[in-house]
Amino acid sequence: MLLRLRTIILKEIKLDFKLGIIARPGSALSNKTGSFRSEIPVFKHEKCTGCDLCIYYCPEGVVFGDKKTKTYNFDDDYCKGCGICAEECPVNDIEMFLVEK
């Protein structure tokens, strides 16, 4: 037959097409953004009033804790060390420290 088959390109590839287009929900969790950090917060748990502001203001949503027990803390894997929690804590109960390289 005269027609030459361009086998490599035209070979039927029935793969899922989502490559590069569609991502699974919440899959960003695999990206540990803690590596962004040059400073790290320390929640001192001394004067905490349970105002929740650290949870509200964290751009990453990594702060967790309980109003009642006043034992807020952060997820070390993802905290980018921006320092907003320390800056905004109304009773200065959070302090930033340089990460030891």
Binding site: G20, I21, A23, R24, P25, G26, S27, A28, L29, S30, N31, K32, T33, F36, R37, D52, I55, Y56, Y57, C58, P59, E60, G61, V62, V63, F64, G65, D66, N73, D75, Y78, K80, G81, C82, G83, I84, A86, E87, E88, M96
Partner: protein, 302 residues
């Protein structure tokens, strides 16, 4: 308003999840997180091209735990219109929120036509404009919402220039002119006020416009920890009035609790650094103070 975030595991279940590559201290990601906490999982979101889209969906990763779509820069509102139409015709609209998001450029410049169309056609969509006052995704170029005298890379200050020589386009009034059911301006500096406004949109059918002031660390040139502080100063100086409007009429304003001179706001940001160099800069600061004072009077902020 907060979802119960009691344990580390809880933080991983948020609808806009960590692991995105936004800048350290990014106020936009803060606002998105807060908005998603209110809207809940029955939300379908669109994003215009911009920082949010880039830092939240780097294939194969996505920070979204809700159905989310990005297509282009200028069509977030039109995509949302299509989604809303599809939900309506298939009977899935009831109980589902359609959220359309863009930055200030994607809203007030290139996306204004599509947004106006969405408003005018009356789609039941919440449109959120994250206003950081310039094209941050491409490297801090001037947009229609860049404030007066701000340095940007395309409105630089120079020997004969103080930066952007045009006032900020008043986008919320453009939205209000469409007589849509709800328009609101909020700020990342006031998360409870922001969440209250988002919650209100859930009970309103039709197009809703929410503009949120979101300071940008690299664009505005300040230290990451000041994101909230700067957002609050914008409000307290009168430069960013927060209010609500229904069908084009203002229904509530957030009063200034402690008025601060604009200088307090400006001096924290590298984008206004050139105003503090000489006498001529002082005169420019006076002009910015006048803008704030006019806002205070117009909206009755005191």
């Amino acid at each position: 308003m907060l979802t119960n975030i009691l344990t580390k595991e809880d933080t991983h279940k948020q609808l806009f999840t960590m692991g995105h590559t936004g800048c350290s201290g990014c106020a936009q990601s803060m606002a998105v997180k807060l908005i998603m906490q209110v809207l809940g999982k029955n939300t379908i979101a669109t994003s215009a091209t911009g920082c949010l889209e880039v830092f939240s969906t780097k294939f194969p990763e996505s920070s979204w735990n809700i159905p989310w779509i990005h297509s282009l820069f200028e069509n977030s509102a039109a995509i949302a219109s299509g989604i809303e139409a599809a939900l309506q015709i298939t009977g899935k609209k009831e109980g589902t929120t359609v959220l359309s998001q863009a930055g200030d450029g994607g809203t007030a410049d290139i996306g204004l036509q599509a947004l106006s169309g969405m408003f005018e056609r009356g789609h039941d969509v919440l449109y959120v404009c994250y206003d950081n006052g310039a094209y941050m995704n491409t490297g801090y170029q001037r947009s229609g919402l860049t404030p007066y005298d701000s340095y940007t890379t395309t409105s630089p200050s120079g020997k004969i220039s103080f930066g952007n020589n045009r006032p900020k386009k008043y986008m919320p009034e453009i939205a209000m002119a469409h007589k849509i059911p709800y328009t609101a301006v909020a700020s990342a500096g006031y998360p409870i006020d922001l969440q209250k406004k988002v919650k209100k949109t859930l009970s309103i059918k039709g197009p809703k416009y929410l503009q949120v002031d979101v300071p940008c660390v690299p664009g505005w040139k300040y230290e990451p920890r000041y994101s909230v502080k700067i957002a609050q100063l914008a409000v307290q100086s009168g430069l960013y009035p927060l209010f609500e409007a229904e069908y084009g009429k203002i229904t509530s304003v957030k009063k200034i609790s402690k008025k601060v001179p604009v200088e307090e706001y400006l001096k924290l940001q590298g984008r206004f650094k050139h105003l503090f160099k000489n006498e001529a800069g002082k005169a420019e600061i006076e002009k910015i103070q006048k803008i704030a004072d006019e806002n205070i009077e117009q909206f009755g902020l005191l």
